[in-house]
């Protein structure tokens, strides 16, 4: 039974810039944030200068509860590069607030990964950054 774990220092890390700095700074504080259009209320992620639905440029940052369900998943047995340790599980998460993001699932047995699995965000320090991983949510 292989347990999925976070990666270690040495993997390529984000370089926050412009719009994304708000997101990564919040991760540092243990908050998962996203934008919501003030006009049409669409949840927007990745950080964007404009609402893709109504084109409003008025987007407000909100805290996400960090809870959602796995929309799709894979398990990588061959890593992207030698700085990653396999296996790891890339997932697309459907956040309850109505947006999707890419992450890795941790603290879960490889055999238990499934579409629809309830997950919650779990911030882990990797090198100089705090990354938003996800782990199975307790019932």
């Amino acid at each position: 039974m292989t347990l999925l774990v976070p990666q270690s220092e040495g993997i390529p890390l984000p370089r926050p810039s412009g719009l994304s700095k708000v997101f990564w700074d919040a991760c540092e504080e243990g908050r998962l944030v996203y934008q919501r259009c003030v006009r049409c209320e669409t949840a927007v992620f990745n950080p964007s200068p404009v609402c893709p639905m109504c084109l409003s440029q008025e987007l407000a940052w909100h805290d996400s509860a960090g809870r959602g369900a796995i929309y799709s998943w894979s398990v990588a047995y061959r890593p992207m590069s030698s700085s990653f340790t396999a296996p790891y599980a890339p997932i697309i998460v459907d956040l309850d607030e109505g947006y999707q993001m890419v992450s890795n699932l941790i603290d879960c047995a490889v055999d238990d990964v499934a579409i629809g699995l309830r997950v919650r965000v779990d911030f882990r320090e990797v090198g100089k950054m705090t990354l938003p991983y996800f782990r199975p949510d307790e019932p």
Partner: protein, 389 residues
């Protein structure tokens, strides 16, 4: 109404030698060899060119002293660039356009995935996502919705790899034959994809020459005609979640899981043909599942029925729709960001010219070729024919 490409022909196509590693070449020199190769195969001197697209196009214009000519910066070659060339000829801006491509000396760091598949976006990069995983995330949705199985995907991989196994020009010539069981027994790379569900990486060059139809008639290769084409793109590859349900806001927009459907419908409408008219399908095969998805998106079978379609034997060389007859990206070659895209069209042309040394589909008159896939958020389509439209 006259067909928009009535006066356009693909006059000649050419592949250089393909290999796992082409000693002594880099991407530039193998592209030059491909360019010279197609001109020689056609019997056309470079001075007759008045347009160049594809990789190193500005360099080729200078090197071969082609200018002044239609040589837009950009340096990429795929189905949309072939259609650009056809458009330029149809509009009278050009009479003879070269499109070349090549990859060599790029993938040298073997502890990592190929460089053209590594991510740029900060929202995917730290999570170790690369191409096989992007396409796996798409395949997983189809498995969830329709019950598509690894066994069905393995059937696709075995079929394409067997086409390459018998093709002396394929990098993996003689490596088979393969059964679906062989694919399932190969090591897991990116669940649900086993090693043999994935394309290879290799090196090689290729080129196409498009001219006015009346010029093509007097050249050495048999002209082939463009019956239709379309390009479906949803955004930059490998930077955003490869979501099956990503959808544009326009009326009639199709979810990313069926990207390519619009391009195929445009192509068939332009051609005045239906999927049942296609004799051979040179489908882009980065991963086995992508064939199942494209068969549904292009209308060769209904949504959700791609898995059963491929296990029916339809896609084998003796089936109703033989696919990827040179071995494709899985066995023939996969030279980088551009060359293998052009090679799907090149193989379709060779099928219609009737010159394939292996897996020639007898009497083929209509071929479809494709590029890309849902994991990369794009899918381009071209219909080709042996008769002038």
């Amino acid at each position: 109404m006259t067909h928009p490409y009535h006066d356009v022909a693909i006059a000649a196509v050419f592949n250089t030698k393909q290999a796992k590693v082409l000693e002594g070449y880099d991407s530039y020199t193998i592209t030059v060899e491909a360019a010279l190769g197609v001109l020689d195969a056609a019997g056309m001197p470079p001075a007759q060119l008045d347009g160049i697209l594809g990789q190193f196009n500005t360099e080729l214009a200078y090197l071969l002293r082609v200018g002044p000519a239609w040589v837009p910066a950009g340096g990429f070659g795929s189905i949309p660039q072939i259609l650009d060339a056809a458009n330029a000829i149809a509009a009278g801006n050009c009479t003879a356009v070269l499109i070349a491509g090549g990859g060599a000396g790029i993938y040298t760091e073997r502890t990592a995935t190929a460089p053209w598949t590594r991510m740029a976006s900060e929202f995917v990069l730290p999570f170790g996502i690369y191409t096989a995983l992007e396409f796996a995330l798409i395949a997983r949705r189809h498995m969830h919705m329709y019950g598509t199985t690894p066994e069905q995907m393995a059937e696709v991989a075995a079929t394409i790899r067997n086409n390459g196994h018998v093709n002396p020009e394929a990098i993996y010539y003689g490596k088979g034959p393969f059964t679906a069981a062989d694919v399932l027994e190969s090591r897991m790379v990116a669940d649900p994809f086993h090693l043999l569900d994935c394309s290879l990486t290799g090196e090689g060059g290729c080129a196409l020459l498009l001219t006015r139809a009346d010029i093509a008639r007097d050249l050495r290769q048999t002209p082939v005609y463009i019956l239709g084409g379309g390009a479906d793109h949803n955004g930059p590859s490998y930077q955003h979640p490869p979501s099956w349900d990503l959808r544009g806001n326009g009326p009639g927009a199709v979810e990313n899981g069926y990207v390519g459907q619009r391009a195929a419908q445009q192509s068939f409408t332009m051609a005045g043909l239906a999927p049942s008219d296609v004799d051979v399908a040179e489908l882009y095969d980065p991963f086995s599942f992508e064939i199942i998805r494209q068969l549904e998106a292009f209308g060769f079978c209904a949504r959700g029925e791609g898995g059963d379609y491929v296990t029916s034997g339809a896609i084998r060389p003796d089936g109703e729709l033989p696919i990827t007859t040179d071995g494709g990206l899985m066995s023939f070659s996969h030279g980088g960001g551009s060359v293998q895209l052009l090679q799907r069209v090149i193989r379709a042309v060779q099928q219609l010219q009737g010159v394939c040394a292996t897996t020639q589909i007898a009497g083929a008159e209509v071929a479809i070729a494709s590029n890309g896939g849902a994991g990369a958020l794009f899918n381009d389509v071209m219909l080709l024919g042996s008769h002038r439209p």
